[in-house]
C-alpha cells in the first residue's frame, strides 16, 4: 500500500509525484490544501508530526524528506532507473539537488510566499490566522507563515532572494550548456528536482529566463514538459499554480 500526501505538483510535493509517474508506480493520492492549512490538522500530524508536505507512506514506512524520498522511490520500485550508475554522475546529481534545495528553492519560495501565499490567505479572519500559525509544529515554518501572512519580509531579504535567483539562473544555464541533463548524460532525479523548482521561471522571471538569454534552460524545461510522466503529473494540479506549466508548450 502506497499513499502520497501532497499539494499541487510544485516544489517539494511535485518531486515524488513526478518520480512516481516516471517509474510507473500507482499510488493513492491524498491532496492537502496548503493554503487551507490542511497540513497542520491533527489527522495529518499523526502521519507527519512536523506538519510539512509531502509525506509518503509505504506500508509501515513513513518518509517526509522529499529529496531522499525520490531516491527511495528509485531504489525501491521497478521501472526505468532515475539515477545514473557511476559514482561521479550520482555525486553530480546530488550536488545539484542540494544547490536547488538549499540555495535556489528558499529564495524562490520567499518570493513566491510574499507575492502569492501571503496575499492568498491574508484576507481571512486575523484571529483565526494567528491561531492557525500557533498550531504549526516546526518553529522555522511558523516564522515563514508569520512573515508571509503579515507581510513581514524586509526589502533587503527580498532583494537578496531576487539576486540569488538571477545568479542561480546563470549558473544553471552554464551547467546545461556543458551537460544535456543535470547529472550529465542522462535524465535523473536531478532533473525532476530542478523542473519542480524551475518550470515556472519563464513566467515569474520573464526578463531573466527566456529563449534569448537562457536557451539551454528553456530547452531543458520543454524536454521535461514533453515527457508523458510530466503531463500526467501536472494534470493532477487543481489551481492556477500548476496550469502555469502550459507556457512551456512549443509554438
Amino acid at each position: 500500500m502506497l499513499t502520497l500526501y501532497h499539494w499541487e505538483p510544485n516544489a517539494n510535493s511535485g518531486k515524488p509525484m513526478l518520480a512516481l509517474a516516471e517509474k510507473g508506480v500507482e499510488y493513492e493520492s491524498r491532496y492537502l490544501d496548503l493554503l487551507n492549512f490542511d497540513q497542520h490538522q491533527p489527522e495529518y500530524l499523526r502521519i507527519n508530526p512536523d506538519g510539512t508536505i509531502p509525506a509518503l507512506v509505504h506500508g509501515d514506512r513513513v518518509l517526509t524528506e522529499s529529496t531522499p524520498m525520490m531516491e527511495y522511490i528509485d531504489e525501491q520500485f521497478d521501472g526505468p532507473a532515475l539515477r545514473p550508475k557511476d559514482a561521479a554522475s550520482r555525486w553530480r546529481m546530488r550536488w545539484w539537488m542540494r544547490f536547488f534545495d538549499a540555495y535556489l528553492a528558499p529564495s524562490l519560495s520567499m518570493i513566491g510566499w510574499s507575492v502569492f501565499v501571503g496575499p492568498a490567505v491574508r484576507q481571512r479572519d486575523q484571529k483565526e490566522l494567528a491561531a492557525a500559525i500557533e498550531r504549526i509544529p516546526l518553529p522555522s515554518r511558523r516564522v515563514a507563515w508569520r512573515k508571509a501572512v503579515f507581510n513581514e519580509f524586509t526589502a533587503d531579504e527580498l532583494e537578496e532572494s531576487r539576486r540569488r535567483v538571477m545568479f542561480g539562473i546563470d549558473v544553471l544555464e552554464a551547467h546545461l550548456t556543458a551537460h544535456p541533463w543535470i547529472a550529465g548524460e542522462s535524465y535523473s532525479l536531478g532533473d525532476i528536482n530542478g523542473f519542480n523548482l524551475g518550470y515556472a521561471l519563464p513566467l515569474s522571471q520573464p526578463q531573466h529566463c527566456n529563449d534569448a538569454l537562457t536557451p539551454r534552460i528553456m530547452e531543458w524545461l520543454r524536454r521535461i514538459y514533453e515527457r508523458p510522466a510530466a503531463r500526467q503529473t501536472w494534470a493532477k494540479g487543481r489551481t492556477q499554480l500548476a496550469s502555469r506549466i502550459g507556457m512551456l508548450e512549443r509554438r
Binding site: H58, R61, L63, T64, E65, T67, P68, M69, E71, Y72, E75, Q76, A87, A88, R90, W91, R92, R94, W95, R98, F99, A102, Y103, P106, S107, M110, P139, S140, V143, A144, K147, E157, E160, S161, F167, V171, A174, H175
Partner: protein, 260 residues
C-alpha cells in the same frame, strides 16, 4: 589517484577522513590551512561546484580527475565508489533514513559552525591587521561566501544571537537523542554514513554549547560520541591533527536558513 584536500579533523573536514579510514583505502592527504586562505591560492583545484558548494571552504576529494565537493555527498561517493567496510548498509528505507539525517544534519552543521567560529575563529581574525584581512576577504567568491567571514567581524553574533542558535540546536539534538534511545546507530541497527556525519558535526558541541549537549540532557548522544571515538577508523582520522586541538578548528560553513 585519490587525494583529499583537508584541514584539521573537525566538522566537514573530519567526515571524509573517517570514511576513507573505514574503507582502508590509501589516499594522499593534501593539507591546507583555510584560515590562511590557502584554498584561494593558484594551483588549488577548483571548479563550479567546488566554488559554489554551500559548505564553503572545504574539504575536496579528487579521484582520478573527478572533483567531489559537499561533505555528505562525499561520504556517499566514498561509500559507493570503494570496496571494503559497508557504509550504506541495509535496504532502500535505511538508505532513505541515512539521507534524511543528512538533511537534518546539514542544518545542524550550519549552527555548529557559527558557534565554533564565534568562539575560535573570531578572536584570530580580530588580531589580524584589518586592512590586510579585508583585502584577503575581498578575493573570496561568491559574495555569500565572503559575507560569512565578514559577519564574524560586524558584531551580529552577540551573546543573544548565539544563545538563540544554541536553542535551535537543542531542538534538533532532541531528535537525535530520541532516535538513539531506541537504537545504537542513527539510520538503523548498523553503523552508516549518517553516524559519521553526525559525529563529525556534533563532537565539538560538549565544549561549545555544554548547556544543550551534556550527560543529563542528552545521555544517549554522549554515549554515541564515546562509542564513535572507540572506532579505530575514527581514532586514525582524528590523528591527522597538527594543532592537537582539532575541535577548535573552525571556518565558516553552510548558511543557516534565511527564513529566520
Amino acid at each position: 589517484m585519490l587525494e583529499l584536500y583537508h584541514w584539521e579533523p573537525n566538522t566537514y573536514f573530519l567526515k571524509p577522513l573517517i570514511a576513507l579510514e573505514e574503507k582502508e583505502v590509501s589516499f594522499l592527504s593534501r593539507w591546507f590551512d583555510p584560515t590562511s586562505f590557502e584554498q584561494l591560492e593558484p594551483g588549488f583545484p577548483v571548479d563550479t561546484e567546488s566554488r559554489l558548494q554551500l559548505e564553503r571552504e572545504g574539504p575536496l576529494l579528487v579521484h582520478d580527475g573527478t572533483r567531489v565537493s559537499g561533505s555528505f555527498f562525499m561520504l556517499e561517493y566514498i561509500a559507493e565508489a570503494f570496496p571494503g567496510t559497508e557504509l550504506y548498509p541495509g535496504d532502500a528505507f535505511r538508505h532513505y533514513r541515512a539521507r534524511a539525517w543528512g538533511q537534518v544534519l546539514a542544518a545542524i552543521g550550519a549552527d555548529v559552525s557559527i558557534l565554533g567560529c564565534a568562539r575560535h575563529l573570531r578572536p584570530l581574525l580580530e588580531q589580524q591587521d584589518r586592512r590586510r584581512l579585508q583585502s584577503q576577504l575581498g578575493r573570496i567568491e561568491p559574495v555569500e561566501r565572503r559575507a560569512a567571514w565578514e559577519a564574524l567581524l560586524d558584531g551580529r553574533y552577540d551573546a543573544r544571537a548565539l544563545s538563540a542558535i544554541a536553542e535551535r540546536l537543542a531542538f534538533s539534538l532532541r531528535r537525535i537523542e530520541g532516535t538513539l534511545t531506541g537504537s545504537r546507530w542513527l539510520a538503523g541497527p548498523d553503523y552508516s554514513v549518517a553516524d559519521i556525519d553526525a559525529f563529525a558535526l556534533i563532537a565539538p558541541l560538549p565544549a561549545l554549547a555544554p548547556e544543550v549537549l551534556n550527560a543529563t540532557a542528552t545521555p544517549r548522544i554522549v554515549e554515541f560520541l564515546a562509542r564513535m571515538r572507540e572506532r579505530p577508523a575514527v581514532r586514525r582520522a582524528l590523528a591527522y591533527t597538527r594543532s592537537g586541538r582539532p575541535q577548535q578548528a573552525f571556518v565558516p560553513g553552510a548558511e543557516p536558513s534565511r527564513w529566520g
